[in-house]
Every structure is written in C-alpha cells, then in structure tokens.
C-alpha cells in the first residue's frame, strides 16, 4: 500500500500510457512527465506568491491579501485573471521581436532545468550522466533572456537593470558551481539521481545528508548565498531595486509578458531550492530512517517549500546591498571560501573514518572564516552614525 503511494505517479503514468500502441509509449511517457512538471511547479508558484504576501505582511505588521477566498488564499487566481486581461503595451521604439522572445525564452529555459531534478524515488524526467551540468547550462542561458529583455525595451532603467542582473548572475554563478563541485567530488558523479542515492543511507537512524558534514555545511551556506543572488532575491535584488530602477529589466513589460517574467523568477527560485535540496538535503530521502514509509515525493516538496519559507523570511529581514558590496562579497569572500571548501573536502576524503577529521575540517573552516571576517572588517570603524546634511 505504502509502496504504491510512493510510486503513485509512476503507476498512474504507466496506466495511462498502457492505452496507447507500443510504438508510442515512450514518447507518451515523456509527454506526461512534461505535463506533470508544467502543472505542478506553476501550482507551487501560485502557493508561493500568496505565502510570500501573507508572510511579508506578518513580518511587517500588516494583514496581507485577505479579500479573495478564505484568508485570501484564492488571490493568485485573481492575479492571474488580472494580468491575462490587461493590455499588452510595447514601447514604440522597442525591438518588438526581441521584446516578445525574452520572457518566452526565460520560461522555457527555466522549465527545462526541472527536467533533471529527481522529485521522488524513480521520479525524474531525464536521467542523464551529466544532469548537473545540464542544469547549470540552462541556468546560464537565463542571462541571455534577461539581457534581451533589458536591451530591447529601449529604456535606460531596463538596460541598467539588465546589466546589473547579468553582472550579478555571472559573478555568483562561479561560487554556485564551485559549491556544487564539492558534492560532485565526494559523490563521484554528475548525475543528480546518483547524488541523492549516495545520501539515502542511514546510520543509527540518522541520514547521510551532505549538510551534516563540515564541508557540506560550508558548501550549503555558500550555495544558499549564491542561489539567493542568482535568483535576484532580496538582499541581492539590486537589478529590480524599485527606488533606483523602477522595476529593472522588466520595467517596460505589462500584461501577460510581465506575468511570464514573474513566473520565470519564482520558478527559478523553486528550481534553485530543488537543486539545493537534492545536493545537500538528501533530495527525496526521509530525514529519519523511521520515517521512510512516507512517500518520497512528499519529502522533496516539503524541503523545497521549507527553503522557500526561508527565502521569504530573509527577504523580510535583510536590507538591500550596494552594487560594489555585492561584487566584492562574491569575488573576495564567497569564491575563496568555496575554493577552500574543495580542499577541506579532499582532506576529509583522505583522513579516513574517525572523529579526528571532524575536528580538523571544522577547525580549518571556522578558523579561515573568522580570520577572513576580521580581515575584511579591519578598515571599518563602527561608531555613532553621523549625518552630513540632516542635522
């Protein structure tokens, strides 16, 4: 019974495909998988928007949306109808073709990234040898669509926003890749399915997730920082800083195309969360051996939604960075720390079992972290704030 609950989607797909002639079954299976992805993740996107507005409202001492449906949970439907019925305005000087292609390209590329994420036991659309590389290739392609949007609008705020977004995404892609390389090195495979399988073991009832090792924890922190920047989320949301750039690269978008950008952005957040859960939090494996009876896909989506909640919490808490701080942080702190983490992971690998490697690896990471923090702060003097003009 529980076995069936775990594999329910696979069984459902096989049952549906069984109605077709034998030659069509493989193709139909893939099409059904694509339909599943295209149905489930936008559904999560709708939940995320209402969760974000309610959560931010709670953090900022207000109610948030509460008119449509009980407690406002039907708000996404109202938003969708509104954006679908709005007029689609294209600026007169805009490059109409590129202006149209940018949001479509973004959404297509982000959806393709989901194809390699294992959302449950045996539940992955494409299991290929180099799936992590495929994911990052798709992630890198989103930069082109953001540039297309910003440039084709013929608007200085759009262009500035796009340049900021692209520079930021390129800078944080390096630490994002490097923190994943640590996991690849320790697993010995680029296949996300194999990475999850390597973590799906238990000793004393506790899981072998990579986050529960010194190098894994450090890599996870770096991944979380780089992932937040990669999805242009607060506190790294300079590309769309309202006070400076109106809305960044999608200033000139309205109606359905704006909705596509919005969708692409939230899907990017969901997919970065999904990859983070897969790499560090054991993917679809249960957090305790005794909880293995719960269907695997529930664990995956629970982990993704948990990291979405953290994203919202961070957005409600931290102030926005400045552009130079952002770049310095990426190149002078996050990237060196991920490189150090690679070395630490190698040390861990060759020290053999035992408690000693825990102490050595933690000591290196904490020591360098504290030293780098001290060194970075050496020229900063924190005293009473002084105002030049206000007094």
């Amino acid at each position: 019974m529980l076995e069936k609950a775990d594999q329910i989607f696979i069984l459902l797909r096989n049952w549906l495909v069984g109605f077709l002639p034998a030659g069509w079954q493989t193709a139909a299976g893939v099409v059904l998988g694509v339909i599943g992805i295209v149905a489930v993740f936008p559904g999560l996107f709708a939940i995320t928007t209402v969760l974000e507005r309610k959560g931010l409202g709670r953090i900022q001492n207000r109610l948030g949306p509460n008119r449509v449906g009980p407690f406002g949970i039907l708000q996404p439907i109202a938003d969708a109808i509104k954006s679908l019925t709005k007029e689609d305005i294209v600026p007169r000087d805009a490059d109409a073709v590129v202006h149209f292609l940018a949001p479509v390209f973004l959404v297509v590329v982000v959806f393709m990234g989901f194809a390699v994420l294992p959302v449950g036991r045996n539940m992955v659309l494409v299991d290929m040898d180099a799936s992590l590389l495929f994911y990052f290739a798709m992630g890198a392609s989103t930069e082109v669509s953001i540039f297309m949007a910003g440039w084709s609008s013929r608007n200085k705020y759009s262009l500035l926003g796009a340049m900021r977004a692209v520079a930021q995404m390129i800078s944080y892609e390096v630490p994002l890749l490097m923190s994943s390389v640590v996991i690849v090195m320790m697993t010995g495979s680029l296949s996300l399915v194999k990475i999850v399988e390597a973590q799906n073991q238990y000793s004393y009832g506790l899981p072998h997730w990579y986050i529960f090792t010194p190098w894994g924890f450090a890599a996870f922190v770096m991944y979380a920082i780089a992932g937040t920047a990669e999805t242009n989320r607060s506190p790294f949301d300079l590309p769309e800083g309202e006070s400076e750039l109106v809305a960044g690269y999608f200033t000139e978008y309205s109606g359905f195309k704006f909705a596509l950008f919005f969708l692409g952005e939230y899907l990017g957040m969901l997919s970065i969360s999904g990859l983070g859960a897969t790499l560090f939090l054991g993917g679809w494996s249960a957090p305790l051996a005794v909880l293995n009876w719960v269907p695997s896909w529930i664990w995956f989506f629970a982990k993704v939604m948990l990291s979405i909640v953290v994203f919202i919490w961070v957005r409600g808490t931290l102030p926005r960075l400045r552009q130079d701080q952002l770049m310095n942080f990426a190149w002078k702190f996050v990237l060196p720390m991920t490189l150090l983490d690679l070395v630490v992971a190698a040390v861990w690998r060759f020290m053999g079992d035992g408690l000693l490697r825990w102490f050595v690896c933690s000591a290196i990471l904490i020591g360098v972290y504290v030293a780098a923090g001290r060194w970075g702060m050496r020229s900063k003097h924190f005293g009473p704030r002084s105002y030049r003009y206000a007094e």
């Binding site: 040898d129 180099a130 590389l133 290739a137 798709m138 992630g139 082109v144 540039f147 440039w151 495979s189």
Partner: protein
Amino acid sequence: MGFPFWILAALTVAGALAAVLLRNLVHCALALTVAFAGLALLFLNLDAQFAGFAQILVYIGAVAILVVFAILLTRSTETPKDGGVFSRTWFVGLVISAGAFAVLGWALLQSQPGLSLGPATAPAATVQQIGTALMGRYVLALEIVALLLTAALIGAVIVARHEREGTKEG
C-alpha cells in the same frame, strides 16, 4: 544523416550567417547565440553530451554575454554614419573566404569514400571516463589550461582597467 541533423545544420548556418550579416551588433550577438545553441545540439546529436553542455555553459552563458557587454560598453550599436558596416576591402575578404570554402569542400568531396570507417553505434563517453582521462593521460594539458586561464583572467583585467591618471594624457 537523419531528419534532425539537417534541421540543426540549417539552424546553425542560419544563425552564423545572421551573426555576420546583420547591421545591428546586438542582433549579431543574439544570432551568434542561436548558432552556438545549434552547435551544442549538433554535439548532442553526435553523442558528445559533456561537450554539448559545456558548449552551452561556456559559449551561451559566458562568451555571448561578454560580447554583448563589450558591444554596450563601446557603444557600437549605432551604425557608422559614413557608408555601411562592411570594410573598404570587403571584396578581397569575400574572395578569400569563398576560396577557403572551395578548397575545404573540394577536399571533402575527394575524400568521400574514405569517410565511413568508424563504428556505427554510439561510443560510450561517460563523465567518469572523461574525468579519468583528464586526470590521467591529459593531466599535463589540464594543468596548462589552468595556467592559461589564470593568465588570461589577470591579463584581461589589466588590459581593460582604467589607465591611471598621469601615466597618459587625455
């Protein structure tokens, strides 16, 4: 020589043609992205999965973006006022490239019969094998590439940074 090959080949060649023929440089860069994507798909068609994804990651994710950054930083989107976008000696260049294509095509047609030697089934090239080869037989090349990339990184920063005031007038 299936159906997908000709579509991908047409896509790649059309992207490349647009990249060198269009007037607006940003359009050229975007057409170049199309050509890179077509090439990546051709690599996948050739069972070179790793090389195909590396192509997308490096060329579309980095080189194309670098090119558009350079275009915007040098304000090259405005087409020159005098004359077209082609150089004064465009005819010579065209003749040279047509000659190069003629030679390559002639060599290709001459060697047709000998070009069907390899196995028909796809050779296995897993990431594991590539990694082992990189760390074994090709480790020296890997180290040299690492050195070259470091040198290029530093060199690009030095070349592109602002010249210090006083070392140069104007």
